[in-house]
Point group: C2
Chain length 120, copies 2
Amino acid sequence: MNTSDDDLLDRAFLALADPARRRIIARLSRGPATVNELAEPFAISKQAVSKHIQVLEQAQLVTRSRDAQRRPVHLDPARLEALTAWIDRYRLVREEQFRNLDAVLSEQAASRGRQTKDPS
Amino acid sequence: MNTSDDDLLDRAFLALADPARRRIIARLSRGPATVNELAEPFAISKQAVSKHIQVLEQAQLVTRSRDAQRRPVHLDPARLEALTAWIDRYRLVREEQFRNLDAVLSEQAASRGRQTKDPS
DNA sequence: CTCTTTATAAACCGATTGGTTGATTACAAG
DNA sequence: CTTGTAATCAACCAATCGGTTTATAAAGAG
């Protein structure tokens, strides 16, 4: 299966772009649960919840084990960590950008008599 | 415009669930850019890029200013921070869960010998 | 074996996505 | 005024998404 880095990010972010799936994540953060347990607080069918879990599974955000005819779902925090890592890269770069901007402004303030460079 | 908390998370995660939009985020982390500049490295049309920017804008991940007929796009790190905050909530809760799991395993070790299922 | 529980598979449907092309707005320069 | 540039709007299209209903598989319990 084609699970490139980009593809995994696609699936993971798309998986989180749905309130039902985010509620499932929240529920699973308190421990494993079966499809029936996950479906109970929702107004949708078990089949729909099963589909949501498949989406989360393909994003590798959750895993499943076997216990007789039950298939408990477990949260896998590793992928969540990968998402924060991606976001932080650009969030933090941006903050550094602000620091650089401060430096540039100080530089410009110090050279207020020289020729102004055009920052196009 | 209905911008509830859940709705904003929907839009933001959906916005990141596309490689083109993630590349736009990456580019904007190095400074503002116009639609034309953003569209250049892509094989898609300017209209498509414009749509991507609208998606990012509705997710409040970027803002726009006016400069004559140009509309430079700026990255807004605040929303990115909100996303990491949401993820970390459940990622970190899960780590605490592991600590609790250790306690449970110790408990089970003390009562080893019973059936794994229903103790008769 | 049959019956029940748990869960998935398959087919279908309306709404949304991501892309296109063509027309239009907004602004500045000649 | 006309021309050119930057960007959006509008209409359209194939593909995907989130949900349903129906049917099916898989694993105990009796």
